[in-house]
């Protein structure tokens, strides 16, 4: 499966988790794609941690406003009813539990719902930006990531990289599976139509609890 098809599938599946009236923060990269798969007329309210709520689609070429960018620095728009604020208010919204769902990428996730996505010691240290606050503060944390990296599992028994947050992940969506984090461990809820439970288990280092399984809508 091409990377783009995998990513589109993940974003499309996560869009089903978002309902009208929810306040949602989409991380940079793959999570941003989720917005493209919301039904038209959707009333999901997107929060942009650089300082506003009511994040709208990219502007038409030539209509960019340099003062209106998303947390990745790209030109965006603000929908009618949007509101701007400073960084203290932005993170009061995030940390204070006023964001219903955050969708974040990950380098590693583990059986306890631990998440690592901000540094690889000695290699890549971009900084956590808003990710630690989002993971701790949002009511529901959905990880959007490809199931493996260069063939190696990313869903582990225990994260090896420095954590972004401890025990905060609620749901993991990959191109192969939808996995829920529960106090008992990781529960495999859905698998993609073009895979098998055995393949998902093979590509996952963590133990998966398997009861009833649905086929993922892709």
């Amino acid at each position: 499966m091409s990377k783009d098809i995998a990513r589109e599938r993940i974003a499309r599946r996560i869009a089903h988790e978002l309902q009208d009236g929810m306040v949602v923060n989409l991380g940079i990269g793959l999570p941003t794609w989720v917005a493209n798969f919301l039904p038209s007329g959707s009333e999901v309210l997107l929060q942009s941690e650089n300082g506003f709520v009511g994040l709208g689609p990219a502007p038409l070429p030539g209509q960019e406003d340099p003062d209106v960018t998303n947390a990745g620095g790209q030109p965006v728009t603000i929908v009618p009813g949007g509101a701007c604020f400073d960084s203290a208010m932005s993170f009061a919204i995030i940390r204070g539990g006023h964001v219903d769902v955050t969708v974040l990428g990950a380098l590693e996730v583990d059986e306890e719902g631990n998440l690592a996505n901000w540094m690889v010691p000695g290699k890549m240290v971009p900084g956590m930006g808003g990710a630690m606050d989002l993971t701790v503060g949002a009511r529901r944390v959905i990880v959007a990531m490809e199931h493996t990296a260069k063939g190696k599992p990313k869903i582990l028994k225990k994260c090896t990289l420095p954590l972004t947050a401890r025990q905060q992940v609620d749901l993991i969506v990959t191109e192969l599976a939808v996995i829920e984090v529960t106090p008992q461990g990781l529960v495999l809820k859905e698998i993609a139509p073009d895979t098998t439970v055995a393949e998902v288990v093979a590509q996952t280092e963590a133990t998966l609890i398997i009861n009833s399984i649905k086929i993922m809508e892709v």
């Binding site: 650089n50 340099p66 209106v68 701007c84 900084g127 930006g129 630690m132 503060g137 972004t164």
Partner: protein, 221 residues
Amino acid sequence: MIKKLRTPSEALAEMPSGATVMIGGFLGVGTPETLIEEMLRKDTKDLTLIGNDTGFPDRGIGRLIVAKRAKKVLASHVGTNPETGRQMHAGETEVVLVPQGTLAEQVRAGGAGLGGVLTPTGVGTIVEEGKQKITVNGREFLLEVALQADYALIKAHKADELGNLVYRRATRNFNPLMAMAAKTVVAEVEEIVPVGELDPDEIITPGLFVTYLVKRGRKDE
């Protein structure tokens, strides 16, 4: 009326090497580029810079990093400026990475006379190293202490002559917080209007926080 309008060089004339300087903006959006220009022109160095991120090599705080003016940087994100990472790994510049919401509260606390705040962010991660953990109602929090600076260089959209400020869209970010937390606050603005033209309800930063105003793009003769 006490006049606050200055040229960039007048506004920053007394900034010494070794100063702690907060600079507003988020990936360069809402960063006072004219003031950064002036800092580059001066030979101020060994600075401690506090900002959300280090921008890009050619934009925002990143230009000061490239020019090696910082001995220490506090930021939530440095990924868009590879030079910051290089200096960090080479041991040339000390880089302290701080969760964005924590940094916002630390700056706000500095301005508000608070000693610090208790945040759940960073508990169970390397961010908690060296910090006091305090349990409130059975939940663990990190004590994050207030930050203050010698200078805050901020960017606003409009000012009146008293220094009352309004911001536009996503440029607000850390600017109003930093305006509270420094001894000398220099605001770079697009436009200066007469006193009374801004409605008291629309002002975000009251002029009492602002030491000097500089017009964006203003060059010294």
